[in-house]
């Protein structure tokens, strides 16, 4: 019976734990028995191969990933990396061809039709193109999940009003979607996704069709929903700014595999995988071209050493840096950002001379530095 305690029977006639529960790693059990068990997703060696006329496409390859309850988890990667395929296995819009997906510790692959319908009512989803029914009013669109679940009409009305208020569209209830702006349509999409009180919200490029201003308002709505309702949000985006804005954790996919995953401040602060670096390229200012042209591999008499200092967490202490360098330090370029309350970014500095000890003293401070070359004096 130990397994039942954390799998939880959500409602009479709902789903129950299976025998497989006993075999689960301790860490999963602990995560699931925490204060808020509802809303975890776990991928276990999930693979997906599409068979098409052109041949087999391996969209996902042995994905192992745990999404804790209550987080805003970002999925990034180039187009075709497998982001949508991964997200869509969570509500089984896509069936994995290998491995399994667990929601709240429950493997969802074995669910029958009724079980699947119940699962989907616990998982909301919003889309890039909103996917609202044009023949129904806003109210009818938002009410649909409840109507098809057989909720009595008397309960549907107040609940629909409640979520429309939450997304700020109470005055548009009787409008048809064609009369709404993109941002309003996505708010209806969010209301429809939230109306059955899900634990998880899946967002597939939900802001990609919106202008920057509307994107920000939708993102702040999502963050608000996550804080107020404790819903786990899993979102796909190709906009790094979206991840930086609201995600706590991120996974980088590359050709169907996990390139790198972790808290956003760490992955964005010190990206390790080339795929992550490539995605962050537009955000990280690279070596300015004029400087790159004058950079030399060997020390220049009377010149300076150019160092790149990477900050991933701690805000750099400038006086400590100059003291450790023991020589004049010039700041050539810097871009420090704050993500999740941590300083993240990089600086280019020129330290007069070419003293290897200066570098060692800087490293001893715990700074992440990299010598990228030498320049002549007047640079």
């Amino acid at each position: 019976m130990a397994g039942l305690a954390f799998d939880g029977i959500r409602e009479p006639g709902g789903w129950v734990a299976t025998g497989a529960a006993e075999a689960r790693p301790v860490s999963v059990v602990r995560a699931a028995t925490g204060s808020r068990a509802a809303g975890t997703v776990r991928f276990e060696t999930v693979g997906k191969t599409y068979l098409s006329a052109a041949g087999a496409v391996r969209a996902l390859d042995a994905i192992d990933l745990a999404i804790p309850a209550g987080t805003i988890f970002g999925i990034i990667g180039r187009s075709g990396a497998g982001k949508s395929s991964l997200l869509r296995t969570v509500n089984r819009l896509e069936e994995p061809t290998s491995g399994r997906v667990l929601v709240d510790g429950e493997p969802i692959g074995a669910l029958d039709t009724a079980g699947l319908v119940t699962l989907r009512r616990r998982i909301g989803m919003i889309f890039q193109h909103f996917n609202l029914l044009s023949a129904k009013t806003v109210r009818q669109n938002v009410a649909l999940p409840l109507a098809v679940a057989g909720v009595p009409k008397a309960e549907i009305g107040p609940r629909v009003d409640e979520v429309l208020r939450l997304v700020g569209l109470e005055d548009k209830a009787e409008a048809y979607p064609s009369r709404l702006s993109g941002g309003q349509k996505q708010r209806v999409g969010i209301a429809r996704a939230l109306v059955s009180r899900p634990e998880i919200l899946l967002c597939d490029e939900a802001t990609s069709a919106l202008d920057p201003e509307t994107t920000l308002s939708i993102l702040s709505l999502l963050r608000d929903i996550n804080r107020r309702l404790g819903i786990t949000i899993v979102l796909i985006t190709h906009e790094m700014s979206v991840i930086r804005e609201i995600c706590s954790d991120v996974v980088v996919l590359e050709q169907g595999r996990i390139a790198e995953t972790g808290p956003v401040w760490r992955v964005f602060g010190s990206p390790e995988h080339p795929a992550t670096r490539a995605l962050l390229e537009p955000l990280t200012r690279d070596l300015p071209e004029d400087l790159a042209a004058r950079l030399q591999p060997n020390p220049v008499p009377g010149g300076a050493t150019v160092l790149r200092i990477t900050c991933s967490g701690e805000a750099p202490d400038l006086s400590a840096l100059t003291a450790a360098a023991g020589a004049p330090v010039r700041l050539l370029q810097a871009g420090i950002d704050r993500i999740q309350g941590r300083a993240v970014g990089r600086m280019l500095v020129a330290v007069a001379g070419a003293d290897p000890d200066a570098e060692n003293r800087l490293r001893a401070l715990g700074t992440d530095i990299e010598r990228i070359g030498h320049v002549a004096a007047d640079d």
Binding site: L133, S134, A135, A149, Y176
Partner: protein, 217 residues
């Protein structure tokens, strides 16, 4: 025109309305489920049954390939079986329906297929079962196209019903042949043509208006 002739035209007009109306009703009742089957049973559909899909698709094509005038004659034994007679309004309804059903089914199929796959996915993601998808997504979203298709079907059925008149079905076509053509009564011929044009215009206008109303909400 004599009062008898006006009476005859009036009766013939009513006969045509009955023939077309009843056949259109049957075409919708039979054609819409057929269209839904063709759309949902194909590969990747929500009720996949590829083999049955191919068979039904071929049957529909078969009926569509036979010209109405040939169908009219070829179906005589079947018509007798169903209605007990081969002349008159009710006997004409059989070949008219048989001809209009696959025609309408194909047109409705196109509209149903045009429904964005994203809408079906969204419906699945909120826990819709397949019957909910039929009732809340496929049919309502395709409705303007289906109404437009029904308009086309009815207009072409008005023409076909006149043809059926030529082989003893009654209606406006019958009057045109017997009085206008065989007795060289040009006035009757012109009157029939005018009535047919008016009928077609009314149907087209009603259909277009309904589609516009649905599309602009």
């Amino acid at each position: 025109m004599s009062p008898q002739m006006i009476d005859r035209l009036w009766q013939a007009g009513l006969d045509t309305l009955v023939m077309v109306g009843a056949s259109a009703g049957i075409a919708v009742l039979a054609g819409l489920p057929l269209a839904l089957f063709l759309v949902t049973s194909g590969p990747g559909g929500i009720f996949p049954a590829p083999r049955a899909n191919r068979v039904v698709g071929m049957l529909v094509n078969g009926f569509r390939a036979v010209p109405f005038i040939v169908l009219l004659v070829a179906l005589i034994p079947f018509t007798r079986l169903v209605t007990g007679t081969t002349i008159g309004v009710w006997a004409a309804i059989v070949p008219l329906s048989v001809s209009a059903t696959p025609f309408f089914a194909r047109i409705a199929e196109v509209s149903l297929r045009d429904v964005d796959a994203g809408l079906i996915e969204a419906a699945q993601s909120i826990g819709c079962r397949r019957r909910h998808i039929l009732a809340h997504v496929l049919l309502p979203e395709a409705l303007p196209g289906i109404i437009g298709g029904l308009t086309i079907t009815i207009v072409s059925m008005i023409g076909a019903s006149a043809m059926a008149g030529a082989v003893g079905a009654g209606g406006l076509g019958d009057v045109a042949i017997r009085y206008g053509y065989q007795r060289f009564d040009t006035t009757v011929m012109m009157a029939v043509i005018a009535i047919l044009i008016a009928l077609v215009c009314v149907v087209q206008f009603a259909g277009d208006t309904a589609v516009r109303r649905l599309r602009t909400r």
